[in-house]
Amino acid sequence: MKFLKFLFVGIFFGIVLVKSEAVSWYRIYEMFRFQSFHMYGIIGSAVILGASSLWFLKKSKAKTIEGREVQLAPKDKGVVRYLLGGSIFGLGWALAGACPGPMYILLGTGVYSMLIVIGGALLGTFVYGLLKPRLPH
């Protein structure tokens, strides 16, 4: 079962995000009001440890399970799409209090009204797909 490991990673991810309260609307509000270190601590420590881990994996020429060297695809160059798209996402993140990962996780916690948000997110993705050729990137 090659998919089983992904299922377990997902379960682990869901548990961590609930137990850390990173899926909470209140924690996101508190973060954007700069009234708590909690979310900054989570993201900050994840990034510092993440950067050291990736650096070490590349330096030691570690192999993935598929036998290839660890290599993450670089992001396309650009400014407009990242700043503009990022800001649009930020508006939605602070309003819904949930980014794409937590949306699914919260559904699992029993918040079924999250299906409306996920529906909106699918619509937003679809509209982006339609408008993509006409948007500045």
Binding site: F12, V16, A46, G50, G78, R81, A96, P100, G124
Partner: protein, 185 residues
């Protein structure tokens, strides 16, 4: 066990999120949750309407499996790994939200005022949730990633585009929290 049932501090949670990212890299994949929205659109036949959705979505089944796991993880965490303790929010945050009309702040993960039955059956509440979702869906695809793809993976991989995107996340988030939310509530 008692420590597992209580909320986890940031210095435990952050490194565990790193572990999720590193595991996916070790499995030859990358951590990115918002791309699943594109995959779901493609599965639903959106390729008929735009090139953007014409790709081999079956190659993304592993990521949909992560999503399925995340849903199960949310269920497990709430039903078996929580003692129902109140969130330790800043009292100032709680007072502010009380003043805006939010009650029982921090006793559940999400405010009833936005996600509760009364809200979603009102036109305003429904529009709010659809609108919030729309902004997340549109914005993440435009920016090419969300918190997991840009803030965690991209920054860890020292990608300048991800830093610009994260600055954007905060520009949008600050505008919503400081300027728009007070108008809505």
């Amino acid at each position: 066990m008692e420590n597992i049932l209580k909320p986890w501090p940031w210095y435990v949670s952050g490194p565990l999120i790193t572990l999720v990212m590193v595991l996916l890299v070790y499995f030859g994949k990358t951590f990115g949750m918002s791309s699943n929205l594109r995959t779901l659109c493609s599965m639903g036949g959106a390729g008929k309407y735009a090139d953007f959705f014409r790709f081999d979505w079956k190659a993304q089944r592993w990521n949909l499996t992560v999503v399925l796991g995340a849903i199960i993880g949310g269920f497990v965490a709430v039903h078996f790994l929580s003692d129902g303790s109140q969130m330790a929010l800043n009292p100032k945050t709680v007072a502010e939200l009380n003043q805006m009309g939010f009650e029982n702040v921090g006793s559940t993960l999400l405010p009833q005022e936005i996600y509760g039955w009364d809200s979603i059956t009102s036109l305003k509440g429904l529009a709010l949730l659809i609108g919030a979702g729309f902004l997340v869906g549109f914005g993440t695809r435009y920016a090419g990633g969300c918190t997991s793809g840009h803030a965690i993976t991209g920054l860890s991989n020292l990608q300048l585009p991800s830093l610009i995107a994260v600055i954007g996340f905060f520009v949008g988030g600050l505008i919503m929290t400081h300027l728009v939310l007070p108008l809505i509530f």
